[in-house]
Amino acid sequence: MGRYALRRLLQLIPVLFGTTFLIYWLVWSLPGNAFAGKCGPRLCEQSYIDEMRDRYNLDDPLIVQYFKYMWDMVRFDFGTTYSGEQVSEVLSTALPITMKLALVAVLIEGVIGITAGVLTGLKRGGFLDNMVLVSTLFLISLPVFVVGFLLQYLFGVKWGIIDPSVSEDPSFSELIIPGLVLASGQMAYISRLTRSSIAENNRADYVRTAVAKGLTRGRVVSVHLLRNSLIPIITFLGAEIGTFMGGAIVTEGIFNIQGVGGVVFDAVRGQEAGTVVPIVTVIVLIYLLANLIVDLLYAVLDPRIRYE
C-alpha cells in the first residue's frame, strides 16, 4: 500500500507539470494583444505595457516564464486580476460555492443512482428494470444545458417554485435544482454501475451463504451485498467531485451561480490570461488530487485488492 501510494504520487508529478504547462502555454498564447483594451478606449501607454510584461515575465523564454510562475504559485502568490483584485480572494469566494454545488450534485447522484441501481440489479429483466434502462438512456442523451433550461423553465418560470437564478451566497436548498441538473447525466452511469455490480455479486458464494444462514433478505442486501458492491461506485462518486469542480461551467452559467466556472469563463472571454492561469491551475490540482485520493481509497476500502 505504502509503495503503491508513493508510486502514484511520483506518477502525478510529470502529469502535474505537463498539464499546468499546457494551460500556461495555451492561455498566454490567446490571440490578440494580452493587454489590449485594458486601459479604457485609449491605447495603453508603453510604460503600462512594459510594467505588465515585466510583472508576468513575458520577455523571458516560455519555459523560464513558466517556472517563475510556478514558483509564485508554490508560495501561494496567485497575482492580481487586471482590475486589481487578488486572485486568491476571488478564489476564496468562488471555490466554496462551487464545492457546495458539487457536493449537492454528488449527493443527489448517489442517492438516486444507487437506489435505482439496487432495485434494478436485484430484479433484472423486470418492468422496473426496463423502465430505468430506458430513462437512463434518455438522461444520457440530454445535454446538461438542455436539462438545465428545461428545469429552469418548468420550476422557475412556469410553476414559480424556485427563483430562476440563485442568490450571491446560495444556501443548500437553493442549489438542489442546479445540483440535480449537474447530476442528471452522471446519475445514469451510477445506476448502471450499481446495477451490474449488484447483479454480479448477487450470484457470489457469500450471498448464498448468508441466505443459507437464514438471514433476512434486507440484511443480506444491505450488509452483505451492498457493502461489497458499492466500492466501485463510491470511488466513481469521489472522482465526480473533481469533475464537477471544473465541469460546472454550464450549470453555473444557467442558474447564475457565482462559482469558479463563471469566473474562469469570464476571464477566458475577457482574455485575462493573468487570472485564467492560476485559477485553472488550482482546478486542475483539485481534479488530479481527487482522482489520486479516490484511487488510494479504493485500495483501502477493498482489502481484496493488493497492489504489488
Partner: protein, 325 residues
C-alpha cells in the same frame, strides 16, 4: 464529459476475447444437422442485434438525421436564412409549425439545417478519437515498458484537464472569440479540440483490452511462427481486442453531438452564420419566458439525435457483451 469507459471494465473485455473463431466448418459440424451453425463473434453480434427493437429504433432515428444532414430540402422547403423581422419570436402558424426565432426566421427550417454540422462534427470527432485512442492504446498495450509509460503519461496530461474547461481554453486560443472567422477552420478546430481532450479514455480502454488479448495462445502461436510485430498487432490482436473500443466510439458519437452543441452554446465553438442547434439554444435562452418554442424545438432535435446514437451504442454493447446473455 462523463466516462463512457465506466461500462467496459477489464474483466468483460477479457471474457469476450475468448469467443472462438468458427473453425468448425460445415463439413465438420456435428452430424445432427439441426444444431445451430457456429458463428464468430461478429456474425453472432449481428445475429443478436437484428433481433433487438432498440437497434431498429436507433437505426430509424439515425437514418432520419442522416437524411436531414445530407438532404435538408427533403424535410423543408423554407430557406433557413430567410427572415421577417415583423414576426420575430412569434409562435406557430400554418406553414411554420414551430414558429419564428429572434430574427423572424423559421425555427423548424433552422433546426433541420442544424443537423448537418452537428452530425458532421460528431462523426468525424468520434472517428478521430477511435483512431487516435485506438492506435495509442494498441501500441502502449502491445509494447509495454517505457513506450507504455510515456504514452500513458501523455494521456494523463490531457486527461488531467476537465473537459469543458480544457475545451474552452483550447478553442479560445485557436479561434479568436471576437471575430466570426472562417467556418471550415472553426469546424476543424472544434473537432480537433474534442479529439485532443478525449483520446486518453479510449486509449486506456484499448490498452487494457490489448493487454488481455496479448496473452492468448493464438498470439503466442503467431509469434512462434515468426510473425512480425505489425502483423501480430493488426491481424491477430486488433480484431480480437477492438470490440470495447467500437462500443465506446458509437456511444461517443452521440455524446460528441451534444458536446458540439454545448461548446456552441457557450459561444466558444461554432458561431453564426453556421446553423447549429447549440447556437439556436444559446440565442433563445434569454427569451425562455416569452418564447419557449425557440429553445425547446432545437433542444428536442438535439436530444433526439444524441439519443439515436447512444441507443445504437447500447444495442451494440448488449450484442457483443457476453456477460449480459
Amino acid at each position: 464529459m462523463s466516462d463512457p469507459g465506466a461500462f467496459t471494465n477489464e474483466r468483460e473485455t477479457e471474457e469476450q476475447q475468448h469467443a472462438p473463431e468458427p473453425f468448425l466448418g460445415e463439413e465438420e459440424a456435428p452430424p445432427s444437422g439441426k444444431q445451430e451453425k457456429a458463428r464468430g463473434l461478429w456474425s453472432d453480434a449481428w445475429y443478436d442485434l437484428r433481433r433487438k427493437p432498440l437497434f431498429w429504433v436507433s437505426i430509424t432515428l439515425i437514418v432520419i438525421f442522416m437524411l436531414m444532414a445530407l438532404f435538408p430540402s427533403l424535410f423543408t422547403s423554407t430557406d433557413p436564412y430567410a427572415f421577417d423581422l415583423s414576426k420575430r419570436t412569434d409562435g406557430p402558424e400554418s406553414g411554420h409549425i414551430f414558429g419564428y426565432d429572434l430574427q423572424g426566421r423559421d425555427v423548424y427550417a433552422r433546426s433541420v439545417y442544424g443537423a448537418q454540422v452537428s452530425i458532421l462534427v460528431g462523426l468525424v470527432a468520434a472517428l478521430g478519437v477511435g483512431l487516435v485512442g485506438g492506435a495509442a492504446g494498441i501500441i502502449a498495450g502491445y509494447y509495454g515498458g517505457w513506450i507504455d509509460a510515456v504514452l500513458s503519461r501523455i494521456g494523463d496530461v490531457f486527461f488531467g484537464l476537465p473537459f469543458v474547461l480544457g475545451a474552452i481554453v483550447l478553442l479560445s486560443t485557436f479561434i479568436d472569440p471576437t471575430k466570426s472567422g472562417d467556418p471550415t477552420k472553426i469546424k476543424v478546430v472544434v473537432i480537433l479540440a474534442i479529439v485532443v481532450l478525449s483520446w486518453p479514455q479510449f486509449a486506456r480502454v484499448m490498452r487494457s483490452s490489448v493487454i488481455a488479448t496479448k496473452q492468448s495462445d493464438y498470439v503466442q502461436a503467431a509469434r512462434a511462427l515468426g510473425a512480425g510485430h505489425t502483423r501480430i498487432m493488426v491481424r491477430h490482436i486488433l480484431p480480437n481486442a477492438i470490440s470495447p473500443l467500437i462500443v465506446m466510439t458509437t456511444i461517443a458519437l452521440g455524446v460528441f453531438v451534444g458536446v458540439e452543441a454545448t461548446l456552441s452554446f457557450l459561444g466558444v465553438g461554432l458561431r453564426p452564420p453556421i446553423i447549429s442547434w447549440g447556437i439556436a439554444i444559446s440565442d433563445a435562452q434569454t427569451y425562455l419566458d416569452i418564447a419557449p418554442h425557440m429553445l425547446l424545438v432545437p433542444a428536442a432535435f438535439l436530444s433526439a439525435a444524441v439519443l439515436g446514437f447512444v441507443m445504437l451504442g447500447e444495442a451494440v454493447r448488449e450484442a457483443i457483451d457476453p456477460k449480459l446473455k
